[in-house]
Amino acid sequence: MIETNSAQPELKNFVGILAEKLEGTPFAHLLHIYENIIYSLIIVAIISLLAYFASRKSSMIPGRLQLFMEMVVGGLDDFVCGILGPAGKRFTPFIGTLFLYILFMNLFGLIPFLKSSTSSLSTTAALAICVFLYIQYTAIKENGFLGYIDHLMGNPRGIIAFTVFIPVLLLFIHIISELVKPLSLALRLRSNIWAEDMLLAVSAQMGIGGVPLLLFNMLLVILSGIMQAVVFSLLSTVYFALVLPHHEKA
């Protein structure tokens, strides 16, 4: 169940096994390239079906599934609006989807023969790019292009040094900080989940004697997976809060 061909141990997953079986065919190559995408699409299907079945016969008196989904949706809405205020409701679908997607991807690696897509930097970078682009779009939409530049130049302004030098310096620093944000988001999530996968793979290598340690590590991985999803969503929400006009914050 464990691959040790590469430098790092890795738990086997069914797409990898299938690619091995079809070794040498173009399909195996595709499977190898889009391994993470396949798991992501499975998660997209699972979450969409859950949402579909929960809201299919939605009523004022909810069933169990609807109640569960309402708790999730309502909780995420409260989470976003708690930081951004009532005006932040329009960001709930984006941040909520981000949270659910990352959470499912993080925890998917715990199921035998499945894999966490978030252990791939491409996946986390893609999500971080989505966050970055949406934040920049929101910032320009809310403040105007010049207003956003003005916002990045910071305050105060006044005498000569403050009029030119410091605002330009602050603009430069802020642009770098804006670019670093997605990088930090992507690297943090990828590295944590990759480390969790390593931990599980190493524990699994220990055989029967390592089962208690494996179970303990699985508990840690569950906690860490939830926490990383929260951290990614929370930081994204805070980044939105930083670019929104201040009167919109609660």
Binding site: I33, I47, A51, A54, Q66, L100, T123, A125, A126, C130
Partner: protein
Amino acid sequence: MDLLKQLTANEMVAQIISFLLLMALLRIFAWNKLLKLLDDRRERIASEFKKIEDTQASVERMRSGYDRKLADIEAESRAKIQEAIAEGRKVSQEIRESARQEARAILDKAQENIENEVAKAKQELKQKVVELTLGTTEKLIKEKLTEEKDRKLASDFLDELEKVK
């Protein structure tokens, strides 16, 4: 930098599409529907609570109104009872007074009657005494008187006098 070499454009684009697809699907099935439902339910619960509070306030108002009316009715009934008691006392006082006056009138009349009867009796006695005296005197004049006859005469006179009484 080795880490950055792991980035593949195809996978990133596919992941972005996958995420946007999920967001679109959840927007249809979860966010729009369920958030609206939650808002509607919140509003409905708030309005139901408002209704309950309004009804409670109205019931409270009605109850205090009824309490006030009840207190008024009690006060009125107490006043009427007091009035009736006073009226009753007045009537009984009048009845007593009238009975007293009537009794006094009866007593006065009886007293007057007694006095009249006494006066009449006295008059009659006086008449009898005169008649007896005249009769006795007449007898004395007609008969020669002896000691024995005198005694008998006096005794008869006294008997007659007793009868008259």
